[in-house]
Each structure stands twice: as C-alpha cells, then as structure tokens.
C-alpha cells in the first residue's frame, strides 16, 4: 500500500464491497476480502484525516535556492 492513492484504494474498496454483496465467495475468501476492505477503508479514512503543515510557500532566494516557509494568508 506504499504507493496507493486515495482513488485506487476507494476503487478497490468498491469492488470488494460488490463481491461481498454478491454472496458468492467462499468463507475463507470472503473473510480475506473483508479484512482487505477494512484495511482499505481505514487507509481512505486516514487519508481524509491526515493533517500536516498545510499551507507552505515556495520561494526562490537571490542565490537561487528554493525555500519553504509557512504561508500566512
């Protein structure tokens, strides 16, 4: 899940839900899918809750170096 984006996770989650809803899965697989779905859901939730220094400004200094400073609106 290192490179997973919110979108792909959401898409996978949707697929898994559809499979679980079909009721055709053997128990083992259903449980595996459910577990996977739970993970994806958690991942998506985390993505939505993630907080970090939100607004930064990139400026190029006179010496050409780019610096990052918090932006105050």
């Amino acid at each position: 899940m290192a490179k997973m984006t919110f979108e792909t996770a959401l898409k996978q989650l949707e697929e898994i839900v559809a499979q679980l809803e079909s009721g055709n899965l053997p128990l083992e697989e259903a449980l595996k899918k459910f577990e996977e779905g739970t993970k994806l859901s958690k991942f998506c939730s985390q993505k939505l809750e993630e907080t970090e220094k939100r607004i930064m400004m990139l400026t190029r200094q006179a010496d050409g170096e780019v610096t990052e400073t918090p932006f105050e609106a």
Binding site: V17, L20, E21, S22, S41, C44, L48, I55, M56, M57
Partner: protein
C-alpha cells in the same frame, strides 16, 4: 528666364526634400501584400487599397515591439514617414508602429497564437491528463497577495481541510510575468510534491491577461507532467493557457471546488461502503451458518440420515434403471427396425414367387416329358399287343388249330406216345372245348 536643367540627383534630392518635409509623420491604412522578410530581419511589403499601392518597410527594431505577426492580407493602420531612396528612385513608407485595423493588436495576436498552437496539437484532448481524485498536495501558482489566493485557501479548507497546499508566488501581470509563471511550473514539476497544479489569477483586461496568452506559458503548461488547471480571469475570459491546460476552471474559486473533493461526502461514501461490506460478509456468514446447521442436523441423526441416504439411493437407482430401460428399449426398437428392414428384403413372397415359376416350368417340362414317355410306351404296347396277338395260341385256334391237354393234369399233349386209349383229354378249340376219350393212338407222322 533661363530654363533650369536638373541633374537626376538634384531632382531626386528636391523630391526627397519635398516629400519628406511634407510628410514627416503620417498615419496610413491599407492591406499588406508581397510581405517578405530577408535575412536582415526587416519587413518589406506593399500596402494597397483598391486603386493604388505604396512600398513600405518596418525595420527589425520596430518589428520587435509588435505583439502580433504581420501577414499578407492583413489590413493595418500604421504610423510612419515617407522616405525617398535616391539610388533606386523609389519612395516608401517607413513605419514606426503598426496595428491591425478593426480589432486590437492583442486580440489578433491571441488569435494568431491560438491558431498556431492548435495546429501544433497543443490543445489536443489526447494530451489532457486527468486530475487526481483526492490530491496528495495542491500547488497554486499565483500572486501571494489579494483575494484570489485567500478565497481559494478558504474554499479548499472548507471542502477538505487535510489536503496540503503549496504556493509558488509569481507576478500575474506585466512584462515578463509569463516567464515567472513558466519557471514556477517547472519548479513544481522538478520537486514533484504536488499532483495537481493551479495557475490562478483574477479577472482583468485583455492587456492584464497578456502573460496567459503567451507562447512561453503555453509551452510550459504543455510540458508539465503534473496536470495543470488554469483558473484565470472571469468565466467569460478565455486565455491561451485555458486551451493548453488539462482543465479550465471558469474562476479561481471554481478551481478550488474542482480540485479537492468534499471530505464530508467522501466520508459518507466510505461509511456506506463499510456498512455494505459488513452486511455482505454477515449475509455470507449467515448463509454458511444455515448450511452448517442443516449438515449438523443430518449428522446428529444417523438413522434418519441412513434412511435419507437409502431413499436417495432408491430414487437414484429408480432414475437410473428407468433411464437404462429406456436406453435398452430404444436400442431394441432400433434393432427391430433393422431386422424388419432386413427381413422384408428376404421376404418369402419373393422366394415363393421365384420357386413357383421354377416349379411351373418343371411341371410343364415334366408333363411334356411324361406325355411323350406315355405315348412312346403306349405305342410300344400296341406293337407288343399286336405281336402278342399274333403269337397268341388263341389266334392259332382261330385259324382252326386246337390244343389237347390231359385231364386233369392239363399237360399239353404234344405226342401220341403220352396217351393211351381210353385216356380222357380235353381239346381246346377257338370257341369252347371238347372232352374226348381216346379211341386209339397212332404214332406215325402221316397217319392222320
């Protein structure tokens, strides 16, 4: 008064003075034709209307200030002066500045650039990159002061407060602004932290938006690996940047709405998905439990299971036997049909018919043969009968002979020696017989 005779140079100089002093500055309008631009970089063309034409030139230095491209057929208004070129004896307009007639120079430049880039394929939908659903980080290239960035931050914060925002401050109007913006795009691509780029600027005049109508910026947007949203001006303002960008947002505020999803609705969607997943797995488990239960029941009652199994076995056997019978029947029926067909090929009717014909033929032949034999035999018999008749003693008797026989021995008497007198003999005649008594016997041949 003596007539003055001019030299060519003298006259030309006079004309030159006259013309150049009379028209030190003039405005002229006409249509460009025969446009050429030699290696010198100066523009040479003919300016014409319906009835006349005049040579014209725009030097490289002045041409540099032009925002649009000169081209044949273009009707222009320009300011310049008349110049006479003595070595060629030609006069021409030397333009200081030229503007397209009827519309603004910027407007024309816009249209010319748009046509050029469109032809190069910079606006092709195939180049358009999709925006991420939930951006990792949004990079906004805009002026760090003013309402635009403020509004965008507010809207994005309201919709999804967790998406990080990166701002690259640039000038968004004035000479060289496009270079700054292009550099900002390049910087964002190099750092590769954001997965969506927004170029934002509030509304303004066509002149104000000029940096967004430059080829420099157009190419920088086109080169960006990160999807670019253009959010320049008002809803009605279209810039070249809008055409090249992956998505055009009508306004910066609209761009803010476009690039980040509403977190609350995503949360709701996620919650619904979770609920559905749970319902799904619960139903799967319930179904499996049900099956387990029924298996369990069968397991718990071996007698019942035994019976059930037997019943099933009987049913199965029944079905199988019926099927087998059906198969055998079908097979036998088929064989029967085969034999019937074979049999009818050997039906006795044919045989009888054949043999009857044979028989009849034999019969006929045999009859004919028999008749012939009978006839032959009959004929033979007749002849035998005739012979017999001829030989018969009776026939002799008919001729008067008679047969003497002893009594009672009935020996035929051939010699008188065998008889003595008083012997009784019978004499057979042609008709009837005589019983006689011998008187005497005579033994000589001729004694009769």
């Amino acid at each position: 008064m003596q007539t003055h005779i001019y030299t060519v140079t003298e006259l030309t100089q006079n004309i030159k003075d006259l013309l150049e002093e009379t028209f030190p500055i003039l405005w002229i309008s006409g249509e460009i034709s025969n446009l050429s631009r030699p290696a010198s970089g100066h523009f040479y063309f003919t300016l014409k209307d319906e009835k006349a034409q005049i040579r014209a030139v725009l030097f490289k230095g002045q041409a540099r200030n032009l925002s649009f491209r000169l081209e044949d057929g273009l009707t222009i208004v320009g300011m310049g002066r008349i110049s006479v070129y003595a070595p060629q004896g030609q006069y021409q307009v030397i333009f200081e500045t030229i503007e397209p007639k009827g519309r603004g120079a910027l407007q024309l430049a816009f249209e010319q650039l748009k046509a050029k880039l469109a032809q190069e394929g910079l606006f092709d939908p195939s180049h358009k990159k999709p925006l991420p659903y939930l951006p990792r980080r949004v990079c906004i290239v805009t002026s760090p002061t003013g309402a635009v960035i403020h509004d965008m931050i507010q809207i994005m914060g309201r919709r999804c407060p967790t998406v990080p925002i990166q701002i690259i401050p640039v000038r968004v109007q004035g000479q060289g602004a496009e270079v700054e913006i292009a550099a900002a795009l390049e910087l964002a691509n190099r750092r590769d932290e954001a997965d969506v780029l927004v170029i934002a600027r509030g509304g303004g005049s066509l002149e104000d938006l000029q940096p967004f109508n430059t080829e420099t910026l157009a190419r920088a947007i086109h080169a960006s690996r990160i999807p670019v949203v253009s959010a320049v001006g008002h809803e009605t303002d279209y810039t070249i940047a809008d055409f090249v960008a992956d998505i055009r947002a009508p306004t910066p505020s609209a761009a803010a709405e476009l690039i980040v999803p509403e977190r609350e609705s995503l949360k709701t969607a996620l919650f619904n998905l979770e609920r559905r997943a749970r319902t799904g797995i619960e139903r799967t488990i319930a179904q499996l439990m049900q099956r387990l239960k029924s298996l369990d029941e069968r397991l718990a009652s071996p007698r019942k299971r035994f019976l059930t199994d037997r019943l099933l076995a009987i049913d199965d056997l029944h079905i199988r036997s019926v099927r087998a019978l059906d198969r055998i029947l079908a097979f036998s029926r088929e064989r029967l049909r085969h034999y019937e067909r074979t049999l009818s090929a050997y039906h006795p009717r044919r045989w009888i018919q054949y043999h009857r014909v044979q028989l009849e033929r034999f019969d006929r032949e045999m009859n004919a043969y028999m008749h012939k034999i009978i006839d032959d035999k009959r004929y033979f018999l007749r002849r035998l009968e005739a012979t017999l008749t001829a030989l018969s003693p009776l026939a002799i008797l008919e001729r008067g002979y008679s047969i003497t026989q002893t009594i009672p021995d009935q020996h035929i008497v051939l010699s008188a020696d065998t008889i003595v007198p008083d012997d009784r003999v019978s004499v057979r005649l042609f008709r009837g017989s005589l019983i006689c008594r011998v008187e005497r016997t005579l033994h000589g041949q001729d004694d009769v």
